[in-house]
Symmetry: C2
Subunit: 346 residues, 2 copies
Amino acid sequence: MQELRKDPIIGRWVIMATSRARRPGNFVNSEESNLVETPEESCCFCEGRESETPKEICAVRKKGTKKDSPGWQVRVVADKNPILKAFVDLSRTTHGLYQKLNGRGAHEVIVESPKHISNMADLSLKQIELVINTYAERINDLENDQRIKYVLAHKNFRWTRDNQNINHSYSEIIATPVVPMRIKEELRGAKKYFDYHERCLYCDLVAQELESNQRVVSDDEHFLTVVPFASRFPFETWIIPKDHHSQFPKGIKGKEKYLAKAFKEILLKMKIGLNNPAYHFVVHSAPFLRKNPGEVKYQTIAEDYHWHIEVTPRLTQAAGFEKGTGFYICPIPPEAAAEYLREVEI
Amino acid sequence: MQELRKDPIIGRWVIMATSRARRPGNFVNSEESNLVETPEESCCFCEGRESETPKEICAVRKKGTKKDSPGWQVRVVADKNPILKAFVDLSRTTHGLYQKLNGRGAHEVIVESPKHISNMADLSLKQIELVINTYAERINDLENDQRIKYVLAHKNFRWTRDNQNINHSYSEIIATPVVPMRIKEELRGAKKYFDYHERCLYCDLVAQELESNQRVVSDDEHFLTVVPFASRFPFETWIIPKDHHSQFPKGIKGKEKYLAKAFKEILLKMKIGLNNPAYHFVVHSAPFLRKNPGEVKYQTIAEDYHWHIEVTPRLTQAAGFEKGTGFYICPIPPEAAAEYLREVEI
């Protein structure tokens, strides 16, 4: 099979070059990890070592236990080397063609368990639910800062810069004074579709995927887990809520348990079926719907955008020109990837 | 320094997170290559082994020598495992939200020297000039196929999928029936600027860079080599022609020598200054200006777009969320990268 497929949301074409004829099993992660991993005895994310991290921003903890001490289940602290900081004033400078903002924002770490467990796939459902709640709480809290336009809740598992690694399950929160490119593209695509059809693009996508059933990994009352039609990377997977909502923190209310199940299921399938690969996921949610958020037209976002989560294992290395052109080559058909994942027993 | 910078062309914000305080020298490639390299005695790209590649599409060769035999200086053949093929009819199918094209296109390899030299940086100026001419010729030839909308001339040096490597300098040509995402974004950004200012965005960028001189690596009569203001990757570098033209094959005429010099200079600086890193480059040129090219509005492209080349060494690994969001973190200020490259003696 050699074909080009168009992503229905942002309009990006992907080359499906599967003549190199590899079966799904050939993509199983074969990489020996050369990451330097933290041994448990010196892991600053483990319960009892709270003094070794920056101060606690918030935590899910037993009543009566104190900040920065044991007794927590999920704990949020500032990143030690933040890429953006909270305590600078926002200022914008321009010079001719160029525009700069200072590094106003936030960069936080969500420690997902008091125990030294490395992969989120191995946390209990209850624990994953607490992590999901914490994402929502942090996003809600950061919304109060008018200078912040977007909050990225995401995870890099064994996929960090510089080959350093904390071998203890954590997610990151990055809050920024601008909207990330990819989210802008999605907003633009979803708006165009809505303007014409007066329907949400993602709602239609969910319906079409369920009907064709070719790329579905699993689904239940509230969530669909699916390999996208124009996936860029092998085994890229999206978790899409069946009920329409543009924003994660509001949309997730009352459905945390279901998302925890969907998360655990896909992460376990990747761990078992693809030999514990590095992966990342990003929560895609609408920007804060304030009166004057600039840059993108937000009038209809509540109707036309639809939050979701994108999970991508790292099984191949992008060729240089893919980074340069945004033109990706996917070596396995999404239908075959979905079938393979569907059949992994967990 | 912690700041966000906006790319003036496509509007993407990049986080400059340089508080991790590493000096330019710290980014020097330290990777031991674990690529399986072809030994010279079995290299199918070397002169004398022409029968081991697919048939010759064209070549720069001595008068009187025959196709698929020795006597050439630059030789173009089809890729052994093409991601797109020339000999299929173009057909478009849609199903609900989804759109597919079959794999109509072309995938060619340009062997840059009859000798077993691995890095383009080590080719003679004359030889690089021949390679540049060959890019232009292949693009011109492929323009005759009305089904092809775009031709990507590019190189991945020691940066290939699957850790396979042919240790003999070559470039690739990929011709596609659609315009790559990134090029579309550039066209859109350049058009917006032109619509307002009635000037070419890239021409203004060249003028501003020369005036400020902060990010210039080198320049001469015809080309500016510059680290872009909002670089995504450390030591990312653009070669921009000073004379306005939207298309590479026409714009390069009469200036091939100058581009060969700019190429050799930046590639040698990267080889020496950054310890022979993997790198890729892509020629960014306007799509073919035909009457009905679809997808993007092409009326003003000849005026508002400006061809150029983007060269990126691989010195860090992108974090997962960068792939997911298009939101990049650059660990070194472009000004420091430019200064470092400027001072590398070649």
